[in-house]
Amino acid sequence: MRCDFADSLLQGYFDCELSPASVDEFEHHLEDCAACARELVELDILSAELKVTPLYEVAPPSLKKRIRASIRPVTQTTAVPQQIHWHWLAVAAVLVVFITAGWGLRSAFHADDYRSELATEMVDAHVHSLQSAHLTDIKSNDGPTVSGWFKDKLRFAFPIPDFANDGFALQGGRVDIVDNRSVAVLVYTRRAHPINVFIWPSRERGTSPHTGSLQSYQWIDWRKGKLEFCAISEASAADLQQLQQLFIE
């Protein structure tokens, strides 16, 4: 039989992760528990075996090279060695095609289309956060706590209101990536539906909100001050509009 402590204190003790008080508690327990004493020895042997065996696999040099190359702008391709020159030329050619095609489209593009594109990306992020059960990095309904967590992670400041009294309870927040930028995400729930509110800095001037729906999700996008917001949820469009009103008040 294994001791009840085997799954908790024993591991923490072995890994030197316990507080001094817990260390005392466990050492006191160890005086009487032969099972834990035996398991500590087994852990030691296992850990030693894992450490002396070269199991760690380092990245091949070619991987580091490829990563370095891929974060360099295309304009610096002259510095790229000959063997991958063709690869870069191909990338450049594709880019030229895209940009050319892009120009044609751009002229016909409305701000709304740009918004829809962003909304698509954010709906994907929303769905991913639900599927991976990774809605929040910081789970708290306390604005200052959430704000403290975001403080050293993003370069812009934003409000973190809790609208629990209005039926939108703050759950926490996380950092996500949208349009190649790190954005803040505040998570609320409305009648058990999670709502992701994406927030990022914007230089555009405030406009009236835009709304839309994608798959079974509603989105509403608005600007206030130097920030742009986009809320996404399975909750109703009316719910999202209410949340948007609360944000801009």
Binding site: L10, G12, E57, I71, R155
Partner: protein, 179 residues
């Protein structure tokens, strides 16, 4: 706004690139194949490049490994969904790899340990890799796997127990019963 400036690249090269080995190692053990690990680690690093652009926290390695882990699981879902399903059935999985041919005959220590480690369900495998190979703290593991610290401890416990039993006597059905 999509072009990365020199400062972003320099920061990334200084802060994140030193952890490429950690990224590759985790991907290799999660995916169990070097070729796949190379592909997925590269994808994860590019995602990380965008992420770290606006990130000013301190736990760079943990954040990078979190991205690597999520990228690995997305890749597995897409490319080897059956593997993830099989892993829910731990007994079946353990039995299939603890047959005498796969472990007992293997004399080489590295191969023996590799097989034992690869036989663990992925969530147990990653907790062992992060702790024993990468030397992460419980807090870092909790961040990377998005689980509470209590779950880090219980996962480590079960993973180590299973490894120990498999290594002690790979033909024993004890390993299966104990889990």
């Amino acid at each position: 706004m999509n072009d990365f400036d020199a400062e972003d690249r320099l920061r990334f090269e200084q802060l994140v690139l030193p952890h490429v080995d950690a990224a590759f190692n985790l991907a290799r053990w999660l995916l169990r194949r070097r070729e796949d690990a190379e592909e997925v680690a590269q994808e994860a690093l590019l995602r990380a490049f965008r992420f770290f652009r606006g990130f000013h926290g301190e736990d760079v390695r943990a954040r990078l490994l979190q991205i690597v882990r999520n990228t690995c699981y997305s890749w597995l879902e897409k490319n080897r969904p059956r593997e993830l399903m099989v892993e829910f059935d731990e007994e079946l999985h353990l039995q299939s790899v603890t047959n005498p041919e796969s472990i007992a005959i293997t004399k080489n220590d590295r191969e023996r340990l590799t097989r034992a480690l690869e036989a663990l369900p992925s969530r147990f495998r990653e907790v062992v890799v992060l702790r024993e190979l990468e030397g992460c703290t419980y807090r870092e593991i909790a961040t990377i796997m998005s689980i509470p610290i209590g779950t880090v401890m219980s996962s480590l416990s079960r993973a180590r127990r299973q490894l120990h039993l498999t290594l002690a006597d790979p033909t024993s059905k004890e390993a299966v019963r104990e889990m």
